[in-house]
């Protein structure tokens, strides 16, 4: 049985696809910024073993890294309302992404922080900098530079993972694809096009993050 491919029915839904791309990128952007923030704080706590938060962070990291993102999403979107916390699909999706990325980046940043030579911290402290200043100005920038490739991979993984947010009807790219194929009955073609869009997004995102990373590390090197 020969199947006739027909991509013509997709072009008329380009607006939906474009909106999906924008929403996926917006989710990824919010997730990345706040997820990295969580990761930096968590990485500091874990890297410097600040008790009792260190244990708490360890629990958080293990719980999130050993359960699927989809279940975390369902727990937040369907489970939390039982406690009286009602979130709309966008807030739930963004929150799930932040919590998920935060756990992974905590471990990544921790590795970067722990690789800092002791002498650098001692040098900072001997200049009468507070511990917080030492972390922020001395430890963190090279630590981030050290683990930047791992952070980039994780951000791309989270962007791709956001496709399951369609299951709580957040209207991102996968949701758009499902909507389109329910209209034009060309499921296979629609999903191929969407997959290619994701692939392009992943490639572009990785490229941009690499350039950003190069800029970050250069600046730190140039600093006296």
């Amino acid at each position: 049985m020969a199947y006739q491919f027909d991509f013509s029915g997709i072009w008329e839904y380009r607006a939906e696809l474009a909106a999906g791309v924008v929403h996926t990128l917006a989710l990824t952007g919010v997730g990345t910024v706040f997820g990295l923030l969580v990761g930096v704080v968590g990485g500091a706590v874990r890297g410097w073993r600040v008790e009792p938060y260190n244990r708490l962070c360890g629990l958080y990291v293990e719980l999130i890294r050993n359960t699927p993102f989809l279940v975390q999403l369902f727990f937040i979107f369907f489970g939390l309302p039982a406690l009286g916390v009602h979130l709309n699909e966008w807030v739930a999706a963004a929150l799930a992404m932040i919590i998920n990325l935060g756990a992974y980046t905590t471990e990544i940043v921790r590795a970067g922080v722990q690789a800092t030579p002791r002498g650098q911290m001692e040098a900072g402290l001997s200049l009468a900098m507070s511990r917080r200043q030492v972390f922020w100005h001395v430890v963190l920038p090279p630590a981030l530079g050290r683990v930047w490739p791992a952070l980039c991979s994780q951000i791309v993984i989270v962007m791709l993972g956001s496709s399951v947010c369609s299951q709580i009807s957040a209207e991102e790219l996968t949701f758009a694809a499902s909507y389109i194929q329910s209209r034009n009955f060309r499921a296979f073609e629609t999903y191929i096009v969407t997959a290619v869009l994701y692939l392009l997004l992943a490639i572009v995102l990785r490229h941009l993050l690499n350039r950003l990373g190069a800029r970050l590390t250069n600046r730190d090197v140039a600093k006296p």
Partner: protein
Amino acid sequence: MIEFSIWTILQYLAQGLGWTLCLSLLAFVLGGAVGGGILLARIATYPLLRVFARGYIEFFQGTPLLMQLFMVFFGLSLLGRDVSPWVAAGFSLTLYSAAFLAEIWRGCVEAVDRGQWEAAASLAMSRWEQLRHVILPQALRHAVTPTVGFSVQIVKGTAVTSIIGMTELTKTGSILANATLQPFTIFGMVGLGYFLLCYPLSRLAHYLERKLNVLAAH
């Protein structure tokens, strides 16, 4: 609304956990087999094979697992037969795992010193003999830890198959949450179920990493 006792719920969830485990094992074994093939293509001397393997890996690492699942699910049904969720889930998880495992193992092969290839070649070994007797045994040591680590990703990846109707742990949880109207408890237990599967694997990977590093340092 039907009343469920906690035991009935646990029984259903245990069943779902069993299916998750089966699917993970299937994906790991088949994915490993296909991944081995992709690895051979990736490090082959024949350029076309390398290009194919690179494209394969790039595609499956650069698109969401859910998209791959949809494509397999709808693509296979174009061949004119009804696709059971089992076939679609098993098939796409296999392709997905194969891409990641091939890439992990490629790194391990490349971590073996180039001199080892040259030494083997100077002993008049064929390319296959060099790989089989010299390179792979050494690469295997590097490969154990990341491979165990990736098995955690496979277990978590199976959750996505609930979307095309696999009645594994997540799907069982969704059905129970709707039936009992206790999503908080149910999804909490579902998460715990995955944790019970994944945490030992994570610990094992961590343990192996330390142990093999210590061995390598000597």
